[in-house]
């Protein structure tokens, strides 16, 4: 119980810190604090990483972690048997893309499964495309490859024993990658769809 509480406290303090940083940016009097998401220094370069994009029939095509020219690619590390964080984020993305209208076609989405044993190609493609129809489903059973890609994004994942059963855990951020393969923006969980949309508009303006 104490352990759980202190972990919870750590989470809350962490969230408040993020909030403070975001807020400081938001209410600062100068600077280019136009984003709801956050930029990292130095900007991580992920464009040299590739992971297999799968189709429902199991066909794999290597996908480089960079957007097509003139576009922005969203990358999300999650799993399908995730009832709270993942569908919330994917539904928020769907809503943000709706806000973007015609510009939504310049936003690519790749969901990377961190639970690939359970997330078969059929399940993963069906799941992510129920939110965003042209999304890429990314899956590999090669854990070293998945781990290396996640590290490039600063993302963590794995399974942890909860009540005697292995429960997947994962970093809940959403990442934006530009055509150069630079991880230009990250959003913490809970960023509102209209803020996501506004950030995407700005990013699309930069890559156009």
């Amino acid at each position: 119980m104490i352990g759980r509480r202190s972990r919870l406290r750590a989470a809350i303090v962490g969230a408040l810190l993020v909030g403070a940083v975001t807020l400081a940016a938001g209410c600062g009097s100068d600077g280019d604090a136009a984003f709801a998401g956050y930029e990292r220094t130095p900007t991580p370069h992920v464009g040299d990483l590739t992971l297999p994009a799968v189709e429902a029939d199991g066909t794999e095509t290597d996908l480089a972690m960079k957007a097509t020219g003139g576009k922005v690619m969203l990358v999300y590390f999650g799993y399908t048997n995730c009832p709270d964080i993942c569908p919330t984020t994917l539904a928020d993305i769907r809503q943000a893309l709706g806000d973007l209208g015609d510009q939504a076609s310049d936003v690519e989405l790749a969901m990377v499964s961190i639970d690939p044993e359970v997330d078969t190609p059929e399940i993963l493609t069906g799941y992510v495309r129920s939110f965003v129809p042209d999304a890429k489903a990314v899956r590999t059973l090669d854990d070293a490859r998945l781990r290396a890609a996640a590290e490039g994004f600063g993302a963590d994942y794995g399974h942890e024993e909860v009540d005697g059963k292995p429960q997947p855990y994962h970093t809940t951020s959403l990442y934006a990658v530009d055509p150069e393969g630079d991880l230009v923006l990250s959003w913490t969980f809970g960023t509102k769809p209209d803020d996501l949309a506004a950030d995407l508009r700005t990013l699309l303006g930069r890559v156009a």
Binding site: A24, P83, A91, F131, E151, A155, D156, Y169
Partner: protein, 195 residues
Amino acid sequence: MFTTTRTRRLLIGSGLALAGLLGAACGSDSASTSAGTNTTEAETAGAAADSAGDAIAISGAWARTSPSEVDTGAAYMTITGGTDDDSLLKVEVPSAIAGMAQIHEMVPAGGGTESSMAMGSTDSTGGDEAMVMQEVKGGLEIPAGKTVELAPGGYHVMLMELAAPLKEGSTFDLTLTFDKAGEKTVNVEVRTEAP
């Protein structure tokens, strides 16, 4: 609820009371970083008055539509405590909807901070923490007069072994059992987006 743009921008894990932080970080008023729990002072004076001021009140119950590929779902709601401290002991769902319901919460994965730092996540925002889902054991505390949000990223009612995907526009009942207030039935609206 949290409706100002600024507040919405800040809402990291919903249910966390960041309203106090807003004032603090902008220096507009005294620091009230109530980093305590997922409860906030009852902002629901109106609602409390409506319900005679005594009873536990449950509002805004909804569940997200579930993709057909999975058999789990989540339901959310706002629970406002009554005169006495109480706790939500269990949630039951009709078998026509799901095999089981549990109260769950998202917590940082064990050592998540250390491992993400070890992995070279150099930013110090803390936003990259890995999270894991676990059951709330021993009941979810509903302090007197406080509002507890079951919202994405915080607490949820986990629905397991869904009989069928949750479809937009449908509704179902959940039966909540409180330690003191007893059983309360709440009607849940299935939606693609949060209300």
